[in-house]
């Protein structure tokens, strides 16, 4: 049995095990008669180490034996492999975001007043971590509550150049009427959005439907709204 063969068996064993294998265990693979000496095995392991020298894997000796591991410097490359998909945002979060956008600077208490329910710390934290809202000051009332405003990242994400590009509230109020202007798919009842928000599959279908329907027609959220929506400035009250 030549070294190449020994090396092949060792490599297969280490990769099959996916955990450290001791020299004894490696040696036991070859049976008794005609088994390579421990030195021969060590030498084959050394060659294997050299084989991996400029590769993304390495042969490492650890307490309980030898293992083949992914080199540390490969970590960044492999990140997409472990990518986890976060669950979709709740309706409460979207409502909070919308209120911050339209009513900034606004405190949590004021959001709660409009929504009629408490806004969880979690929602505020999620929106801050996402970089869409930030604390812009504190209101001078007891407790000095933080006031939130939207960020440039928020505008970038939604393809807006300025906050003003958001449709005025009067039009949000009458979203159905706004739909044609926004190139919203006509067939999509409003209910679908509100109720279906948690359903990722549905949302994907919607998106697919839009792409299909939109032969050259830009979808509202992908195009700077300024070009798409010929909105009038809201009348002052």
């Amino acid at each position: 049995m030549d070294e190449r063969q020994i090396k092949n068996v060792l490599e297969a064993a280490l990769l099959a095990a996916g955990r450290p294998v001791s020299l004894d265990q490696l040696s036991a693979l070859f049976g008794k008669r005609g088994a390579p000496s421990r030195d021969a095995i060590r030498s084959a392991l050394a060659t294997l180490t050299d084989d991996y020298a400029d590769r993304g894997i390495e042969l490492k000796r650890v307490a309980s034996g030898y293992r083949i591991q992914i080199r540390r410097n490969m970590g960044d490359w492999l990140m997409p492999l472990w990518e986890e998909r976060a669950p979709r945002y709740s309706r409460a979060l979207l409502e909070t975001l919308a209120l911050v956008a339209y009513r900034q600077p606004i405190t949590r208490g004021e959001i709660e007043e409009v929504r009629g329910v408490a806004v969880s710390t979690n929602i505020v934290r999620t929106l801050q971590e996402r970089g869409w809202i930030r604390v812009v000051g504190h209101r001078e009332v007891p407790g000095k509550p933080a006031m939130f405003g939207t960020t440039k990242e928020f505008l970038d994400y939604f393809g807006l150049t300025r906050l003003e590009d958001l449709p005025p509230l009067s039009e949000v109020r009458d979203l159905e009427g706004l739909i044609p202007e926004l190139d919203f798919p006509q067939t999509l009842p409003q209910q679908d959005f509100v109720d279906g928000l948690s359903d990722a599959a549905e949302a994907e279908e919607e998106q697919a439907a839009e792409e299909e329907a939109g032969n050259g027609v830009s979808v509202a959220d992908e195009t700077p709204a300024a070009q798409v929506i010929p909105l009038q400035r809201p009348e002052s009250a």
Partner: protein, 296 residues
């Protein structure tokens, strides 16, 4: 079991794998299909007689009446397309009787098959007119079709069993990942979703009117946030610094409205230390509330 005309029996489920080493091991290619009292049975009985102690194991090796029939046909090297019905149904019935004598838990399907065989046999024995013969198909046809169909999938199952199977024939190769950098892909939100959320909340609260949300254009709201942010960075800002000539008349107006609104909401203070001196803007603090010169 090398020639194909021998029965296609594989190992009885639950039996140990074929012994390939040690004394008394059967020669290569001779696989026991069952172990009876520890002794491997490498050959199927040539005729109906099966040692009683082996019968149960033997019969359990069949996957049903079709399987048993296929075995009977093949054992006698008969052409499946030309089954001698009388002989086959006799043999089949004898096995059924054996099973019943053994109090072998007999599936109803075996009895149904026995009845079918008897029926075919009787139909073949009955004399038929030429006309009838033309109209009627061979009474064996349906049985043959079923036997053939079953045989195909029996072979297909063997084919699948021989496929290179994970954990049995091949194994996943893996290297250890010492440190995993897990990233979370954040959910996507569309503008529409947000707008509909807003509409929902407005509909629900119906506080549209008294919120006076549309009192100021959004640009003023945005500017309010901007000014407040500047106040956070530095305690003071010079009033004139808040305006940018490049924004034009409209921009100046927006900034001015934003400052007024902030002032009204008591979010900023405006201070002027001396007449005609520079006006400073600062974040409002309850303790440092001072009389201010409010530009009008």
């Amino acid at each position: 079991m090398e020639s194909t005309d021998k029965p296609h029996l594989t190992l009885v489920p639950g039996m140990p794998p074929p012994i390939t080493e040690g004394p008394g091991a059967p020669a290569q290619g001779e696989m026991p299909f069952a172990l009876v009292e520890g002794e491997p049975v490498t050959e199927l009985p040539r005729d109906l007689y099966i040692p009683p102690h082996a019968l149960k194991v033997f019969l359990e090796a069949f996957e049903g009446p079709l399987d048993l029939l296929l075995y009977l046909i093949k054992r006698q090297n008969l052409n499946i397309l030309d089954i001698p019905m009388a002989e086959i149904s006799l043999q089949y019935t004898k096995y059924i009787e054996l099973m019943q004598d053994m109090q072998f838990e007999l599936a109803g399907e075996y009895l149904v098959m026995a009845a079918t065989l008897t029926e075919i046999k009787s139909r073949m024995l009955l004399p038929r007119s030429e006309e009838a013969e033309e109209d009627e198909e061979d009474p064996r046809a349906e049985l043959v079709r079923r036997l053939q169909e079953y045989e195909r999938f029996k072979q297909a199952a063997e084919g699948i069993n021989e496929l290179e199977r994970m954990d049995r024939d091949v194994h996943q190769a893996s290297g250890e990942v010492v440190e995993r950098k897990v990233v979370t892909k954040l959910p996507d939100v569309t503008l529409k979703e947000m707008l509909f959320a807003l509409k929902a909340v407005l509909d629900r609260a119906d506080m549209y009117a008294h919120l006076h949300v549309q009192r100021e254009p959004l640009s003023v709201r945005e500017r309010m946030s901007e000014i407040l942010t500047r106040m956070q960075d530095k305690q003071f800002a010079e009033f004139s610094d808040l305006f940018s000539a490049e924004e034009g008349r409209m921009g100046v107006a927006v900034t001015f409205l934003a400052i007024l609104e902030l002032l009204k909401e008591a979010l900023i203070d405006i201070v002027q230390s001396e007449a005609f001196g520079p006006i400073h803007v600062r974040a409002a603090t309850a303790s440092t509330q001072e009389p201010i010169n409010q530009p009008s």
